[in-house]
Symmetry: C2
Subunit: 600 residues, 2 copies
């Protein structure tokens, strides 16, 4: 297997050339102290860590898997040690509150370098990169004493945290949460219930684990308005704040999964476990979801990171493996066959992976700038950013996770029979990336969030604003040499997006099934156009550089060619999404329950 290489040059392209991060950072108080050298240092060091420390554990982690015996979880060889090095290097501190030991950094920088770790070893990240959500939630809602007790240890990475939402009877529908919390005389609570799908609910990395758990108080109203948030440590705190006696929490088992086998996905039993209420009673969902845009964007990035890694591995194989001859005649006449890379169909698959990896990266890092803005104190900036993220986050999460699966799947196809074998690591990519379309809300949930809650709700104007920016770009570059065909297609697609939205808006109130019937197609349409815009912008940058006779001609040419490929072969998929919208809900809703079973 070819070693994973952090795509430093393409990250630099997104940062400096496409998205002008230096200008962006100059507007952020938080980033004022972070200079170009700091960015280079962080990017370079995390790249090294990803390549040298955790990438070598990618395949072995999958083969060994995580194990659970008598409530104890064992992670694969090298995982806990890699985490120790990660902590020693101080990486958990990055982007966390300085007053609790963190190192101030904008979210975007942290996300940018996360790609390397997600690509190198996503299962390891399921242990190591979970603390930020817990820290952010506690910082936003917890009492000062709770913050003092937990946050510094999470910032340093000494302790680790989890999010406990799902229960056996409830996944996407949190109305059904049954876990109970009884107030105790000591001001604490006793929490009882079973949580499933808890990543790193138990592990062998840290001496204590800080669980954030959704449960119902005795007087809770039914539904999601009766769910409260609790913080429950695996080991109770001694007076000096250190980890003491075991709390009444037990890992019953871990799941046997399609992929991410090195990650322990735990069934957790809370049996009168001691914990504290975080935030107001019955407002737990709100508190838990403070981090939702970030965690969904992080999931989009996981899809994108797998696409990048799959591309690299597939390309290496396609350059080395020989079969057949180029259609226009032999290329390697001295060899008995040409490299796979000569074959147009292999190139189609590689370019699809590449368009996804680079386009997905651009979209994720574009969204990350809005997260940075949403993190600032300037109310106007913040509110605009929140609106924009409300629109863009489900698009990025839904579309990029779907594309990530596609890219990994193409990797298997490029390698053919060898792709089906474990030793090449491509089939593992397919298995590992598959969950990104499910967790943090399935693609269906993202689609309904985007269309039902956002576009047909308060963010209709935000969509006009966003598509307006795209159309402005098109207008500005309508007569640019070489860019014209792309810009024309982009403007057309954007206008179709608007028209489609108008049609849905006019029809949906008379058909409550319409929105969920077309939501995934609507989301994918939005994803294809959003990334088309970033590809057109990338092409524009590349064109400009090529005009200046840049020494990196190969790089910019490839950027331009991938953009061209995207417009030729990927963007046309929006026609299918439009057809779905046109067809509406009737052919989905006509069949009776018994009809579904008919014929078997």
């Amino acid at each position: 297997m070819t070693p994973y290489q952090a795509p430093l040059r393409d990250l630099r392209f997104c940062f400096d050339e496409l998205l002008d991060y230096p200008a962006h950072y100059s507007t952020l108080p938080l980033a004022a102290e972070i200079g170009r050298d700091d960015v280079d240092f962080i990017v370079g060091e995390v790249a090294k860590f990803a390549q040298e420390v955790i990438a070598p554990l990618y395949v072995s982690g999958d083969s060994e898997g995580a194990h659970c015996e008598d409530g104890r979880v064992t992670s694969p060889r090298g995982f806990a040690e890699a985490y120790r090095r990660y902590v020693e290097a101080g990486w958990p501190r990055l982007g966390n509150p300085p007053e609790h030991g963190g190192q101030a950094a904008p979210y975007s920088l942290k996300l940018a370098v996360s790609e390397f770790m997600q690509a190198a070893n996503g299962a390891w990240c399921m242990y190591a990169l979970l603390n930020d959500g817990g820290i952010k939630t506690l910082m936003s809602y917890a009492q000062p004493a709770q913050i003092e007790a937990f946050v510094p240890k999470l910032v340093s990475g000494e302790w680790m945290s989890t999010m406990c939402l799902t229960e056996p009877q409830c996944g996407s529908d949190l109305n059904l949460v049954r876990c109970r919390a009884e107030p105790a005389a000591d001001g604490k609570y006793r929490i009882t219930g079973t949580k499933i799908f808890i990543s790193s609910g138990e592990q062998d990395f840290s001496e204590n684990i800080v669980h954030l758990v959704l449960a119902r108080l005795p007087d809770a109203p039914p539904g999601t308005r009766g769910i409260s948030l609790f913080v429950i440590p695996k080991r109770k705190l001694r007076d000096d704040g250190s980890a003491g006696d075991a709390n009444a929490i037990r890992c019953l088992s871990i799941e046997h999964k399609m992929g991410l086998k090195a990650s322990a996905t735990c069934v957790m039993a809370f049996d009168g476990a001691e914990g504290w209420l975080v935030g107001e009673p019955h407002r737990g969902l709100k508190a838990m979801f403070v981090y939702i845009n970030k965690s969904r964007l992080g999931t989009a990035q996981q899809g994108q990171a797998h696409a990048e890694a799959a591309y690299q591995a597939s390309l290496a194989y396609a350059r080395e493996r020989r079969a057949g001859r180029a259609p226009s005649g032999p290329v390697s006449r001295d060899k008995e066959a040409d490299a796979l890379l000569v074959h147009p169909d292999i190139r189609r698959m590689l370019l699809t992976q590449r368009a996804i990896a680079e386009g997905g990266r651009a979209l994720v890092l574009y969204c990350a700038q809005w997260v940075d803005r949403a993190d600032t104190d300037d109310r106007k900036v913040r509110e605009q950013a929140e609106r924009r993220l409300a629109l863009l986050t489900p698009i990025a999460k839904g579309a990029v996770s779907e594309w990530g699966s596609e890219a990994a799947d193409l990797g298997v196809q490029i390698l053919g029979g060898h792709g089906y074998m474990k030793e090449w690591g491509l089939e593992q990519r397919v298995r590992d990336v598959r969950i990104t379309r499910i967790y943090e809300g399935t693609t269906g949930i993202q689609g309904m969030d985007l269309l039902g809650r956002k576009v047909l709700g308060p963010q209709r104007e935000t969509l006009q604003e966003f598509t307006g920016e795209i159309l402005d770009f098109c207008a500005r570059h309508a007569s640019d040499n070489g860019l014209r065909p792309l810009v024309r297609k982009l403007a057309d697609a954007t206008n179709r997006w608007r028209t489609m939205t108008d049609r849905i808006a006019a029809r949906h109130s008379s058909d409550p099934d319409l929105v969920p019937a077309i939501a995934v197609d609507y989301l994918m349409f939005a994803g294809y156009v959003s990334v088309a815009w970033l590809w057109a912008r990338s092409a524009q940058v590349a064109n400009a550089k090529l005009a200046t006779k840049s020494p990196e001609r190969e790089f910019y040419l490839a950027k331009l060619q991938t953009a061209q490929f995207y417009f030729d072969r990927i963007l046309p998929r929006i026609a299918v999404c439009e057809a779905a919208v046109e067809a509406g809900s009737s052919s989905l809703m006509a069949m009776s329950d018994d009809g579904f079973a008919a014929g078997r």
Copy 2:
């Protein structure tokens, strides 16, 4: 996990109502003795065997996997025993030469019931269903003494056979075969070389294994015209024909695969193994490929069978699992949530699976009728059938295997987080079905076969004939009540197929990259239209039955509704294929080798 149910009613629909198998069989000498009762008996018994004997081993087979130690292969618990029962019941004899112990039956009947076994346990089939290819090849090319030695034991199932094509350096490109065969004084040959990806190359089912092996004679010209076929038994034959001493063949290891883990995929070393030449020297590829249409159609069926099984499992979950409320208001007011099945997006995924499972079945069984005709002695009938299969086989193999993967993948999505867990069996479907897009020729290979070798080669007229039949159907039913919208779309799509083909024919000679650049899209286009035709025909049958107030109203209504869904939501995908053809090859071919690596 819900037990698999053989879809007897839908098979009956295809057989009796859609494809009029009784009339078809009445034209076949081979089927003259097979009456309706025989068909019912065979279908019923194989269904029982699939449901009761091998389906229960589906999940356990995957968990246990096949193992290889010191050259000996162990299959999962119950596998060999199930094969013993299969042999005792006489199933290996079905459809094989009566003069060697077989039971005459048309290929189509055998294929029809294979679906149940492929759905119930595809990995088991990788052991049990391989003999037919070997029998057919030997019957067509081997000497009478070779036939006498091997065929009866393969027909009874006492011995089993393999096909040994692939080598470490060569997969799709058999030009690169290196395995050597030296003539010996005894008239036999000594074969030396390594073969990989050999399904059941070693196993614990049968006392002897009959390998059909491609190798080069000393005087062989290079390329595929220098490849000969040999039959090489694992154990040499005693004078009485029984299995004697070990031949110089060794299973070096088995592959660790994404799926089909219960099937032993072997690396086989032939080290001067004794064998016989089959057929003429240097003509081995032709002999090996005598069975190619059948094996490709069988692979299409594997994809379809997984789609059916995934549909059943997903539907059972969607009916039982509760989450959220129907968009138009609560359905199960007494429950705290509605069944998943109320949700339009869940129905979209289920209907996609169903449209694939039933449409794929119809396509496979439609092709199977042409195989029956190709097996007859009437030269005119046979030649027309061979032409039709030349066109249809790559379409069925390529498209149905792609759709089978899609259906299994949707199964994981319908189950959400639970779909990612092993216990529900859906993720196993994804892993198991994945190879169908690769073996027996990847989708890319099928596409180039269809477009390059067939449509732009000798089968252009066959395409006109086939599409002509579709257009005739459209003309006949253009004003049928209820069928009109479907027929209009079908005629439009068929005409677009013709136009697209004309355009390609006009362009391809000036661009050798064009055909391979668009071959997969062309193939998928052909698949969507072919199945649209079968869905329109299904709808026509269902309409007619509904008009007669059939007591099976639910079944025919569901058929009609699935057809409607297919035309609304699946067929529009052809627009993307057209766009690819329109775009041509330039955006695939522009990038240099170094460009592919740029940015990393």
